[in-house]
């Protein structure tokens, strides 16, 4: 909560402005610089301006403990936090850790699913940006080297 308050003070105004973007004004620029970073912390800084996030149990990150196949890892992120502006997913040990980032206009529910590639066992982190700050949850997904496909 300590970090949360600090973050709130630092970025609260900016974030509040971003969170409430009307549907037609969303920036449609692909954040190339954030996507090209090779370290998770740098990718986060590029995308979100900071690496300070508050760990939150109000974010549900649904990932398998052991991926059946690193090429297709089902990921679902949802949250009960209010006023969510974006959800970003980082796979820390991937060559490019930022996997995807979703901008949610007002009215879009904070619940997204996709399938990701994972090169090796790694923490997967979901970062949710709301009008009050950045919140995150992490889970480890084990990726095993396959044999014959079963």
């Amino acid at each position: 909560m300590q970090t949360g308050r600090r973050l709130l003070l630092q970025g609260g105004l900016v974030l509040a402005a971003l969170a409430a973007l009307p549907r037609t004004l969303l920036a449609a620029v692909w954040p190339e610089k954030a996507f090209s970073q090779t370290a998770a912390r740098q990718a986060m800084t590029e995308l979100l301006g900071t690496t300070d996030t508050v760990s939150s149990d109000r974010i549900m990150l649904k990932v398998p403990q052991i991926a059946e196949n690193g090429a297709v890892v089902p990921v679902t992120v949802s949250t009960t936090l209010d006023n969510v502006a974006s959800i970003s997913i980082f796979v820390e040990n991937n060559p490019r850790p930022l996997a995807a980032s979703f901008e949610l206009p007002t009215g879009t529910l904070p619940e997204i699913s996709s399938r990701l590639k994972m090169g090796e066992t790694s923490n997967v982190m979901a970062v949710v940006r709301t009008d009050t700050g950045l919140f995150s949850v992490s889970k480890e997904v084990k990726v095993t080297i396959g044999g014959c496909g079963g």
């Binding site: 692909w30 297709v72 060559p95 490019r96 979703f102 009215g107 529910l109 619940e111 996709s114």
Partner: protein, 103 residues
């Protein structure tokens, strides 16, 4: 080529659930062609945009870490039967595709 984006929608009250599947190689740029041994250049969807009756309901930014033939689902409020939902994507080579469906 028929149906490079497949969309399934479900309306519960005023909440629309959208599931889509896109036909795209999502090349990482690190994979080697098994026949030639040459690195296959990165080729991936960068951005997916969805609008409902012209209003943006989702902007998704993808990296090469999204699986081949990407799957993506989301939900939004304020939907009603008969709304026009549009999903479009662009990739890093400037190619694009879009599909329109009625809720």
């Amino acid at each position: 080529m028929a149906g490079k984006i497949k969309v399934k929608t479900k309306l519960v009250g005023n909440v629309a659930e959208v599931k889509c599947l896109m036909l795209h190689p999502m090349e990482t740029g690190t994979r080697k062609d098994p026949d030639t041994g040459e690195v296959v250049p990165a080729h991936h969807i960068t951005q997916l945009t969805s609008t409902n009756n012209g209003e943006t309901v989702m902007v998704a930014n993808f990296s090469t870490a999204v699986s081949q033939n990407p799957y993506f689902s989301f939900k939004f409020q304020g939907a009603k039967a008969g709304d026009t939902l549009k999903i479009s994507w662009v990739d890093n080579r400037g190619k694009s595709d879009e599909v329109e469906t009625t809720l």
